[in-house]
Subunit: 370 residues, 2 copies
């Protein structure tokens, strides 16, 4: 007998009309390694917002119970051709209780347990999830386990990737985010140097309180000097940026080059030979990335995404990373939420305008049964 | 007894005054593996222009016999702190005859021979060069051997690097340059696919005449479709760009992603997983590099410079590359020049305004004894 429940869907039509709505749907019985999870808590991450609202005009949208209809800007709509007319689920990750399982032993072993999972349709009362990607939460609450995948594995991934590349220090351009706080704790535990960039003095305090050594405030007049000193002290010629648009990456490269040039004994018209590496792992700013000349040719900038990275490292490394998350869920990998909303509440104008601003430290949690 | 002769020097003062002048200097006797080369021909490459004139205001400079004094724009001057007050030579490469040699056998073996060399002060009547970097030219003229290093080794380097990265095709954004023509011939010889971007229809003809298959013209209305088709046909998700500023790299990534998405069976909010790789190896446009969103996170952009690349591949590979250049100097690696100027003539306003425009196919050759 099929289970029925509410699920969120997002649909972009060719004319740029975006419809996001809660529908009553039926969920199939799980087979093989699948489990059926009754979802109890799912975070709204920046990576979810891209599919949920994109750049849609939320101010002038039409709102009704469990639904909104908005216009997508023409440029964004043109770039979204591939999803035109498709009704898509949303919500990368969440936590809930396994209420049915496929025949496979791995799935059966999870029956009745609370798990963290990565179903891709977590804004839903039920989800089909892959048992291999489920993390049993033991006595932890759903809220404690809701964000056990995307941010923890990304933060751990940064450190794994840095180690693989022979680095002993990392620069992070949005230090005070949930992810940034996790990264701060991981780097302390692993003895990796970390330079955190933040935008406000209370964010400096927040990170210093959890033990960060190098926190530089981009609102300060001497920001560039602070950043240069911190890079010099740590050797962080390698960093991660979730903003994407604008000049933040450029600023990081400039500061790195300034340190490298200060260490050179001879002048070179080509700049330093010090390799400088940055990764863009998000698009909090959807504007263009601006790279100015002035730091020579010894730099590399890449996009970075969690799933391709996990595929590249393989099962063993990924298993070790997940175990570490599970063992430290309420300490190293603790997340904090500003608000809890159910599926209908998450589609009200007030909630949407608030969480789509993606302000640091103001994450929402969706609780589909509240 | 010291040899005396004319040499060009470029000096940037802290206040932004750039002085480029010919001086009479004395050259020391070569020792060890050094040789003294009487320089006969040296090309003016874009990489030389950065140190020679930078972004100086050549229109309003003061010109006198063998000298000009110009103002550097404030932004460029600020970024050039490391060279303030330094009197620097210029001219990466050239060809001439060895008239004295150090005691080392490698140096002695070159006595009396015409060689191509990479002294870094090739705009000079004499140069001290490292015997290990000299390429004996046999019966070739100095003009034939003048550009035997920078462009040939760079073009070969692109192909070597692509092969090392498992690529079977390359995109080159300035196809009709001397370097682009070499790359076209190398790719044919090595069976590597090549997509050439050019800006004019006569450049399409030029490259087709030397056997290029995929030449796309950025001035055509259907440029983006041409580019996409050529990438699809060759699999060139890997390319090199000497322009740097503006949106050329962005356009390449967009076209690559368009091909990758057309090959996908499922929609992904993150774009394709197809790795897309571009290298910036010059700054013909000194404006900012603009990277728009729209091609996901599966891309990497790096600076690329010849000398660090050669260091990374080691002596054996470099030796093999140099041998190939020597064996094919007047065919695969032939360069063409628009004008020949002596040291005084290269500092006249007419010459400077012309060669500093770096127009495709309009390279100058400096002949210090003419």
């Amino acid at each position: 007998m099929a289970t029925t429940g509410k699920q969120l869907f997002t649909t972009l039509e060719e004319d740029g009309t975006l419809t996001v709505a809660i529908e009553e749907v039926s969920f199939p019985d799980p087979t093989g390694k699948q489990v059926l999870v009754k979802m109890e808590a799912a975070p709204i991450n920046p990576s979810d917002l891209a599919i949920l609202v994109g750049g849609a005009d939320l101010e002038n949208a039409e709102y009704s119970e469990g639904k909104f209809v908005a216009k997508m800007p023409e440029q964004v709509n043109k770039g979204s051709k591939a999803r035109h007319g498709m009704k898509l689920p949303a919500g990368n990750e969440g936590a809930g209780t396994v209420i049915a399982a496929g025949d496979d032993a791995e799935a059966q072993a999870l029956m009745g347990q609370r798990v963290s999972c990565v179903p891709g349709n977590a804004y839903s009362q039920y989800c089909i999830a892959d048992a291999g990607m489920c993390l049993p939460l033991g006595d932890h609450s759903a809220e404690e386990g809701a964000s056990a995948f995307v941010n923890p594995m990304t933060a751990l991934g940064f450190v794994e990737n840095a180690k693989m590349d022979g680095q002993e220090a990392i620069l992070h351009t949005v230090g005070a985010s949930n992810l940034g706080q996790m990264l701060t704790r991981i780097c302390q535990e692993d003895g990796i140097g970390l330079v955190n960039i933040v935008r406000k003095s209370d964010q400096v305090d927040l990170l210093k309180d959890i033990g960060a050594t190098h926190v530089v405030n981009s609102s300060d007049d001497d920001f560039m000097d602070q950043l240069t000193s911190a890079i010099d002290a740590t050797g962080a010629f390698y960093g991660y940026d979730p903003v994407g648009g604008g000049k933040l990456v450029d600023t990081a490269f400039q500061a790195m080059e300034r340190v490298a040039v200060s260490r050179m004994t001879d002048y070179s018209r080509y700049g330093s030979n010090q390799p400088k590496r940055m990764f863009i792992y998000g698009r909090l700013d959807t504007g263009a990335t601006i790279l100015t000349p002035g730091y020579g040719f010894g730099w590399t900038l890449s996009g970075w995404l969690l799933f391709p990275f996990l595929q590249s490292v393989g099962q063993d490394v990924m298993g070790r990373m997940r175990q570490r998350v599970r063992d430290n869920l309420t300490t190293t990998f603790a997340s904090h939420y500003k608000e809890r909303v159910n599926l209908e509440e998450m589609l009200t104008k007030d909630a949407l305008m608030d969480y789509s601003a993606m302000k640091t430290g103001e994450k929402y949690l969706v609780t589909p049964w509240s």
